[in-house]
């Protein structure tokens, strides 16, 4: 019985000028994990390493409990992938796309695909290049669903899409994990999408792992601290990430353990956005 559908242990990858450093995470069966971080943080790199589109320097990656390189082909039969831009030939029709993608799957379900086309309102005869960005994303999703994928890996699937589609997308994801037998890894910089729906979250900043674990745990670990200029002691300033000073005072992110020392300031719950913004402004805590 495999509990974790996806597991990364101390994964490292170096490029000139960037290093993905000791990334670890665990995604159990039946849940949604958000992979969050500012642009350039290393989210796409992490996904490419999981899919072996890039070779890791050190570390281990397990998908469905199996090594992601040694069992690459078996694993990929059960993994569905959606990227931020379409990766099918633009002159293919929707029907052609099915013909092309189904070449690779033993277990292709044509009726599921047709069902998805109906549900997403995708006309069979329309060419890929004639589809809107939202429709292209739905096409990638339809293909991912049609071979019984147990793990869905999504790299910024909703970037550039309007809130209505993003909302519909989240509903589709929740429907997808409803039987408890499938998981989703969802990388995005639109954190509001994740805030309520993601069970687990991994935060990456500048190649470093900032947090991985339950969503609740993350929100509980940080506070947004606001106060008057005079309350900003040297000691407090050191504990704050992403400090912002104005004429009205200051605000920033502070760890929960430190926050309790500063009851004289306003302490609010931090949203993921707050955490990501403050992190990108100033250093990793």
């Amino acid at each position: 019985m495999i509990d974790n559908y996806l597991e990364l242990k101390d994964v490292n990858k170096s490029f000139p000028g960037f290093k993905l450093n000791n990334i670890s995470l665990s995604l159990p069966k039946g849940y949604i994990m958000g992979l969050v971080g500012p642009n350039g943080a290393g989210k796409t790199t992490t996904i490419q390493l999981i899919l072996n589109m890039l070779e890791k320097d050190t570390g281990e990656i397990f998908v469905f409990g199996k090594d992601n390189v040694k069992n690459e082909n078996a694993i990929k039969q059960d993994v569905g992938v959606v990227f931020d831009s379409i990766f099918y030939v633009d002159s293919w029709t929707v029907k052609d796309t099915e013909k092309a993608v189904s070449i690779f799957y033993e277990d292709w379900k044509h009726d599921v695909f047709s069902e998805m086309l109906k549900r997403f309102d995708l006309p069979q005869g329309k060419k890929v290049r004639e589809l809107s960005r939202g429709m292209q994303m739905k096409l990638m999703l339809a293909c991912a669903f049609s071979h019984n994928a147990k793990l869905l890996i999504l790299d910024e699937p909703t970037s550039g899409l309007d809130p209505a589609i993003r909302d519909e997308f989240l509903e589709i994801l929740q429907e997808y994990i409803k039987d408890g037998e499938r998981s989703v890894l969802f990388s995005t910089h639109i954190t509001t999408d994740l805030e309520r729906v993601a069970d687990y979250i991994t935060l990456i900043n500048r190649g470093e792992l900032v947090y991985t674990g339950s969503m609740e745990g993350l929100i509980d670990s940080y506070r947004l601290i606001k106060g008057r200029a005079r309350d900003l002691t040297a000691e407090l300033e050191k504990s704050i990430v992403g400090l912002r000073k104005t004429d009205m005072g200051f605000e920033g992110l502070i760890g929960e353990k430190d926050a309790v020392k500063y009851k004289n300031c306003v302490l609010d719950a931090a949203t993921i956005d707050d955490i990501v913004i403050c992190m990108s402004k100033g250093g990793v805590r």
């Binding site: 409803k178 309520r196 687990y200 339950s214």
Partner: protein, 126 residues
């Protein structure tokens, strides 16, 4: 079972779910042995994470309001409305103790306390 979540409430979502379930048990909207929506269905309907609903249900189970039956789901416990009533009575007791302490600091006599209580109950019942 109908639950409404407020995002701007200071109370975390799992706590809101707990409170509403308890309230519905007490008011009779949820009856003994009634099956609650599954963890995942609830998460999907409320558009929240499965871990959140799991926490709410687990805590409700620990506190004795609901019980989980293997392979079937979560059900309202038969003694739950009594449990809630007991909890509420405890709350009344605590509040009354606090009131009595404050009254004593204000140098109120026992009779004064009782008349004040009667007055307040009359106003409430109008």
């Amino acid at each position: 079972m109908e639950i409404v979540i407020s995002n701007s409430s200071s109370s975390p979502i799992y706590a809101q779910i707990k409170e509403q379930v308890k309230a519905q048990i007490l008011s009779g909207e949820l009856v003994e042995d009634e099956m609650l929506p599954s963890l995942r269905q609830l998460a999907k309907d409320l558009k929240i994470s499965v871990l959140t609903t799991t926490r709410a249900y687990n805590e409700l189970e620990q506190e004795g309001f609901i019980t989980s039956r293997q392979g079937k789901g979560f059900f309202v416990m038969s003694s739950s409305s009594n449990l809630i009533r007991e909890q509420l009575i405890k709350e009344v007791e605590n509040n009354l103790n606090n009131a009595i302490q404050a009254a004593q600091r204000a140098s109120m006599s026992d009779d004064e306390i009782i008349s004040l209580l009667r007055l307040l109950l009359e106003v409430k019942n109008d």
